[in-house]
């Protein structure tokens, strides 16, 4: 992290960039937040550790409108989002100085809490440079430990790899974290009966409080005017609608990012209700891969997006019933 901070200081000092987009220390040991740093002085609060899961690429939409360059810290998965935003002409490459930062998996505080570790005061081992396999957690009830891998975000277990797809310079080491297949869960649901599927989603989606966090954080959801903000769309008032409205919200949200979602995992990370939103996104990704050929959004800015492309021989919609 020191290396990254030093580099940020240098770039600010020599005028290459006007500001640095990174993470700053939060009020708790596990909630660093995205922030701009405009002076060398302010960098004292700069932090990069295992809790810096936030994908900063979406902030570049606004930063692209500012004067001068912005140094933005992007993890490998974040660079896919940046690429996708570039393809959609939402960010300006010329306005960004991309520091590709290393990643050894990001942590999910909820996973730590689920192990019964509460009232956390201090966490050791979440720094990006130490090679710790376990986290030492100081709580008001004494010291607890937790394996790093057990506290990792779901998305890091299915990480797309540690190669940055776009960068100006690389800083810091990465470590392979993938140990699962991202479509396993989707395949398990596909194998259920219609009743089981319906019950599963009913249970998950009824938890939704329509806070819109999943939409706000998503780099693919960057329309200036959003359908969900319309007063004519009933889902803006969850209180007076019935259970279908939430399914509508979720299907439409996922559909709007189909073929553009890079599976960056931010939506699932920020959902305060722990709803596995990736199950929707990945269903579309899986179908697209199976029906129209492998496609990874954000990988190649030149490739044609699956929903703006077609072939004469495309599968007919009736294939849905036939696939079983």
């Amino acid at each position: 992290m020191q290396e990254l901070k030093d580099r940020a200081r240098e770039l600010l000092a020599d005028g290459t960039v006007k500001r640095v987009l990174g993470w700053k220390i939060g009020d708790l040991p596990y909630n660093p937040e995205p922030a701009y740093f405009e002076t060398e002085e302010s960098l004292k609060d700069f932090v990069y550790n295992g809790f810096c899961g936030a994908n900063l690429s979406k902030y570049m939409i606004e930063a692209s409108k500012l004067d001068g360059k912005t140094m933005v810290c992007l993890k490998p998965c974040d660079t896919y989002s940046f690429n996708q935003l570039m393809k959609e002409h939402r960010v300006d490459r010329e306005k960004a100085y991309i520091a590709g930062v290393g990643c050894k998996g990001k942590l999910d505080i909820e996973k730590i809490r689920k192990q019964g570790i509460k009232a956390i005061e201090r966490i050791e081992g979440a720094g990006i440079c130490d090679e710790a396999e376990t986290l030492k957690i100081q709580t008001v009830y004494g010291e607890k430990t937790c394996a790093y891998a057990d506290a990792m975000l779901e998305r890091c277990h299915v990480c797309k790899g540690k190669e940055h797809k776009i960068y100006d310079e690389l800083i810091g080491e990465s470590k392979e974290t993938a140990d699962a297949d991202r479509f396993d869960e989707v395949a398990a649901i596909e194998a259920m009966s219609p009743e089981e599927k319906f019950a599963f989603f009913q249970k998950e989606l009824s938890k939704c409080i329509r806070c819109n966090a999943c939409r706000n954080v998503c780099p693919a959801c960057s329309c200036r005017k959003c359908v969900f903000d319309s007063t004519k769309f009933d889902s803006s008032q969850k209180a007076n609608v019935d259970s279908f409205e939430e399914k509508m919200f979720h299907i439409i949200r996922a559909f709007h990012v189909a073929g553009r979602c890079t599976d960056c995992g931010e939506c699932s990370r920020v959902c305060p209700q722990g709803i596995p939103l990736h199950l929707f996104n990945r269903k579309f990704i899986k179908d697209i891969n199976e029906l129209y050929g492998e496609y990874q959004a954000g990988e190649d800015t030149g490739a044609k997006a699956p929903l703006t492309d077609y072939t004469f021989e495309d599968a007919e919609p009736s294939i849905v019933g036939k696939r079983g």
Partner: protein
């Protein structure tokens, strides 16, 4: 007070493109080929005009089945509209199936202006299918139930 149990009559929404399928429906009519009155046709300029939301909205407002008809691939009045629609509908139907909605409730059929018979056959078949599936209880909004 007794609650009268009404016989099930499905509500079926058919989105038909202006250039082929709607003309196909017209031909079915003028050739005196019958199809059930449960089918309500909504004319759209092109199958590509059908936003996934239209389908969901139709279900929400009480439809028991939704069918979309357009020109055959290769014959679209706007050359390529139905190709995009085809991919969109495939993904949408697959998603509906994934969340547990019986996939027989959704369908896409390509009907040209000369295929009055196909239009009538398709509608008869689809209505029958919906009769066998019964009322749509998974997707409707309670407020829209009569």
């Amino acid at each position: 007070m007794s609650i009268e149990k009404k016989e099930f009559r499905p509500k079926i929404v058919a989105f038909c493109c202006n250039w082929c399928s709607y003309a196909g429906a017209d031909l079915a009519g003028s050739s005196r080929l019958g199809y059930p009155a449960d089918v309500k046709i909504i004319r759209v300029p092109c199958s590509c005009r059908v936003n996934p939301m239209f389908i969901l909205r139709a279900f929400e407002k009480g439809a028991d089945g939704v069918i979309m008809c357009g020109c055959h691939p290769g014959d679209c009045h706007y050359s390529t509209g139905n190709y995009y629609a085809r991919r969109r509908m495939t993904l949408l139907f697959s998603m509906l199936d994934y969340i547990g909605v019986e996939n027989g409730r959704t369908r896409v059929e390509w009907v040209s202006a000369a295929e009055g018979v196909k239009f009538s056959d398709t509608m008869n078949e689809f209505v029958e299918k919906i009769y066998s599936l019964g009322e749509n209880v998974r997707l409707g909004d309670l407020r829209c139930r009569s």
